[in-house]
Symmetry: C2
Subunit: 210 residues, 2 copies
Amino acid sequence: MADGLTVPFALAAGLSGAVDSTSIIVIAGIAEIAAGSIAMGLGGYLAGKTEQDHYNSEKRREYYEVDHLRHREIEETKEFFASIGLDEELQAKATEQIAQDKDKWVQFMMKYELGLEEPDPKRARKSAFNIGASYIVGGLVPLSPYFFVEHPIDGLKYSVAVTLICLFIFGWFKSKVTGVNPLWGALKVMLIGAMAAAAAFGVAKLFEGA
Amino acid sequence: MADGLTVPFALAAGLSGAVDSTSIIVIAGIAEIAAGSIAMGLGGYLAGKTEQDHYNSEKRREYYEVDHLRHREIEETKEFFASIGLDEELQAKATEQIAQDKDKWVQFMMKYELGLEEPDPKRARKSAFNIGASYIVGGLVPLSPYFFVEHPIDGLKYSVAVTLICLFIFGWFKSKVTGVNPLWGALKVMLIGAMAAAAAFGVAKLFEGA
């Protein structure tokens, strides 16, 4: 969502410095939102699907190895217990107990040997929808002022105000959730947005002059 | 990098349907690349820093708990061994051995109780640079044809050709690295780009007419 706010915001800011028609900014902004929401949403969906496929194929392989290369799997399980600091006697005993239940053993190898968590099958679809939708909502915030004013620079003023406030609020709540200092987190998110917009504005001005 | 190719590509495609000057497309594209590379690069850098801070603060807490809430930590360690299927005797013995070395114990808790890997301190900077740089390189690919032609639609034709080829090549190698079927992976990446560009083109046309 921060990207969904920041990139269209910066694009509109950049164009505000270079063109004198708000309609071009609106069209470019809408095109960017459509592109970004599809690229990020669909990209997220397919990445989730790939993760799921990867998990399933690794799981099949572990089952195969447990059945056909039992000796090697036992060595690998022992190695895990050695790596966390158990002595050889406990390595052997713990491995023996785990190897008694094939399903539990495969689950253990997936999680602790390969470091793979079982992906939630519904997550790919849900996260795609969330990413796409937040990109659209986020993108409309910085763009909306341009619908109502005539001169791009006026739109830019409102857009800067509205977007920085939204980035601050968004950064605040995101930091709360991830357990970071909210004020510092909010300022960081806001600063990234401001820098991206300033860079876009500067670069567009430069190219307009060229 | 795929996003770095896709979003500027789609933006340029969208504008090609709506404006009749390549210079506006070039300016918008450059602004988008500047905005995206800063937002993604800086965003990636700060996300990496946050991860590092989070890791360090959790580590300090584990050390505190090992020193002052030893009984609780022992329970938690036993619970881990219970969860992977060891019986009570082995749970107790394994926990006893792990608890002998405080550093190893904390390392164990970080990794297997909390599921946190120690972040590489240099990674945040490196990955920020990589993300930013690939966004710039990726963005210049779909934009470059517009530098050399007069009419946006001509630029669009070359841009579609060049970008889809690049997306295919990129998708191919990315799939090779992640162990997915390369042809299918390449087609997927290409398809996302094509759909995003088509949507941006359609939406921009719609708004131009309005």
